[in-house]
């Protein structure tokens, strides 16, 4: 590092997305690394990374409404569901019992985000009326109402226990199932979806980063820190709370649309209370109110099954009769981490990263 990287001579430079050379450098390196992972990693890990990138998008959505704007939402999973079903109807295949229009991804992807955002806008006035715990409880009611609707609107969702096929991944007439051949390089479906997920994830992340340095983002923080005070300095609570809900639902809708298209099918029982809580937990474990936190949380949550499997494999536990199954071990660890992070590190993984970074910034000196 040369010069004075932390000396900003004007406001524009300080509030840039990547303010100094080090950050620009690492951003490009990480992006390149993430991109090349799809060529070297095994199918299993590619799938895990794809889901973690998509979950990160939804987690960012929740972070906008809960972390930045301070409005509690237990119903994030429902918005993911709305996105999923919009995409499935627009981009899925019709059968005798479900409808589907087989449209292109360029149509259903934005629309599924928008439809979720629209429902989010409908919910938003509640957050103006209610605060804190009560808002959380109303959104809890929404989870149950939502899953009731999902399991009963059979022509859209296929009904509880049966489910339906999600949207087909066809972008500009190009079917992801066919794979792509560029010279000697053969990209299969999972690699293509990985690249798509990475692209969406980076875009969403930049969007969040951009939000934090805009007027809207500052208004959100003001509402979080004290909404009466925010109102007193001229922030329109209704407008900003609504936009926070709409934006967060948009992110959730995008995730929903893509996530189940990658896995193929979707069952309405997926969008239950635990599913919504998962996103809260991801934000908490990652670190709420930060840009990188939800990404950390999502990577942690989605890569954990792989890590546990690898660990058990190397210790020779795999295939043995354990008291708990693999999925149950994951859930126990997940539950434990929620508790431990809340007690010992409320700033989440981001807090750990923050302290590590600051430690090594001046290493070996203490400051």
């Amino acid at each position: 590092m040369r010069g004075r990287p932390n000396l900003y001579t004007d406001y524009r430079k300080e509030s840039a997305v990547l303010p100094n050379l080090t950050q620009k450098f690492w951003f490009v390196v990480l992006l390149f690394f993430a991109f090349s992972l799809c060529l070297i990693a095994s199918d299993y890990w590619i799938l895990l990374l794809t889901t973690s990138f998509l979950i990160a998008v939804a987690a960012w959505g929740l972070n906008i409404v809960s972390g930045f704007a301070g409005q509690i939402s237990l119903a994030h999973g429902v918005f993911v569901g709305i996105g999923t079903y919009t995409a499935s109807v627009l981009g899925g295949v019709a059968t005798t019992y479900v409808i589907g229009y087989e449209l292109d991804m360029i149509i259903w992807l934005p629309l599924s985000g928008l439809s979720a955002a629209l429902i989010g806008l409908l919910i938003a006035p509640i957050s103006v009326r209610l605060k804190g715990l009560n808002l959380g409880l109303v959104t809890l009611a929404l989870v149950f109402i939502g899953s009731h609707l999902f399991s009963n609107l059979k022509f859209i969702t296929g009904g509880a226990g049966l489910g339906r096929k999600a949207a087909k991944l066809v972008l500009f007439g190009f079917d992801f199932d066919e794979g792509l051949v560029i010279g000697n390089l053969i990209l299969e479906k999972n690699q293509l979806t990985y690249i798509l997920a990475l692209f969406v994830c980076v875009l969403a992340g930049l969007g969040v980063k951009n939000l934090t340095r805009s007027k809207t983002g500052r208004a959100y923080s003001a509402i979080r820190d004290g909404d009466i005070a925010a109102e007193a300095i001229g922030i329109n609570l209704f407008k900003f709370k609504s936009s926070a809900f709409a934006l967060s639902s948009f992110y959730a809708g995008i995730t929903g649309a893509l996530m189940f298209s990658v896995s193929g099918g979707v069952e309405p029982g997926t969008f239950n209370l635990i599913y919504s809580v998962t996103f809260i937990a991801i934000v908490i474990i990652g670190g709420g109110g930060t840009v990188l936190g939800p990404l950390f949380g999502a990577l942690f949550f989605s890569l954990m099954p792989g890590a546990i499997q690898t660990a058990m494999h190397s210790f020779g536990f795999l295939g043995q009769d354990l008291a708990l199954s693999l999925g149950q071990i994951e859930r126990v660890i997940f539950g434990l981490f929620i508790i431990l992070f809340l007690i010992f590190e409320p700033r989440g993984l981001w807090g750990i990263w923050f302290r590590l970074r600051n430690y090594f910034k001046a290493w070996p000196f203490s400051y």
Binding site: L133, N152, I280, V332, F334
Partner: protein, 306 residues
């Protein structure tokens, strides 16, 4: 008319069961400002203890029943001591999420134990049978429902005497009024927290028995029934015990009426409400009441300061 009475009776019994869990919610909320999402899981844990002792180990039912309830109380005491004590003074919502974490832990271990087949809880009166029922003028009342109602009434009376007369009851009320003032009066607030969780745990496991007893059986989905005490508490107001009871009865009756009269309601509104609507109706009511009265029917209104 008979159908109406039947629905009312079943609704009241359900409401009584919910009120047991709901009072636990309120006690914890009043004492510590914590909304414990772990309460439904504790209810199921209680049922599991009873089932494990009475059915799997062959312990006489009443011993299993008492041991199970006390064990659940102790478990909830341990939970408070290890996980919630460090969180005193933290924002309400973080603690609520923490209890969701506890709920995930408890339920995962429990689901593993329950397995795929339903489990029975044993029979308190082998010759008489809690599986049986009584027919009063066409209205069929299960013994389990009657005993649930009676238990709830007795427990509520005992609790109100406890709060009015006993030393610890008064200390609990003082703590819920103002923690620091209570400390200054020489009340051991930590002990009160422990006591509150112990009582709440026992109440939950009472409810757990009535939710899963008889033909209802203990399955991996039993906790969803216990979770329905949450809308009950919210309707009544999070910090009011009478509110919790009234809210529970409202929820129970709603569920009973919807279960019996759904066809009539559908012809009234003109579109199908879907299967299992009686299970969602409580949440719809909670939704509406929160919008109209954010602090519930009996809750004290919160004064906001900048």
């Amino acid at each position: 008319m008979i159908i109406f009475l039947q629905a009312t009776a079943e609704g009241l019994a359900l409401g009584a069961v919910y009120s047991l869990v709901a009072i636990g919610f309120v006690l914890i909320y009043k004492a510590m400002d914590v909304l414990s999402f772990a309460q439904p899981a504790l209810a199921v844990v209680g049922a599991a203890f009873i089932s494990a002792l009475a059915v799997d180990r062959g312990v006489p039912f009443w011993i299993a029943f008492i041991v199970g309830i006390v064990l659940t109380g102790i478990l909830s005491l341990i939970i408070e001591r290890t996980f919630l004590r460090p969180m005193v003074g933290e924002p309400v919502f973080s603690v609520a999420i923490l209890t969701i974490g506890i709920d995930i832990l408890l339920r995962t271990v429990l689901d593993n134990w329950i397995g795929l087949n339903p489990r029975y809880l044993g029979d308190p009166f082998p010759s008489f049978g809690n599986f049986g029922s009584i027919n009063i003028g066409g209205v069929v009342l299960k013994y389990l429902e009657i005993s649930a109602f009676l238990t709830a009434v007795v427990v509520i009376i005992l609790l109100s005497i406890f709060f009015k007369k006993s030393k610890y009851g008064v200390a609990m009320r003082a703590t819920s009024f103002d923690q620091e003032a209570a400390l200054a009066q020489g009340i051991d607030v930590g002990k009160i927290f422990a006591l509150v969780w112990f009582i709440a745990g026992m109440l939950a496991s009472f409810a757990g028995f009535f939710i899963t007893g008889g033909f209802n059986t203990l399955t991996q989905f039993s906790f969803i029934s216990a979770l329905r005490a949450l809308p009950a508490v919210v309707i009544g107001g999070l910090d009011s015990i009478p509110g919790a009871v009234v809210g529970s009865l409202i929820i129970g009756l709603t569920q009973g009426y919807v279960a019996y009269f759904q066809a009539d309601m559908e012809s009234l509104v003109g579109f199908p409400l879907g299967s299992g609507f009686s299970l969602v109706a409580p949440y719809l009511i909670m939704f509406v009441i929160l919008l109209v009265k954010p602090d519930g029917l009996f809750g004290t209104e919160e004064v906001e300061r900048v």
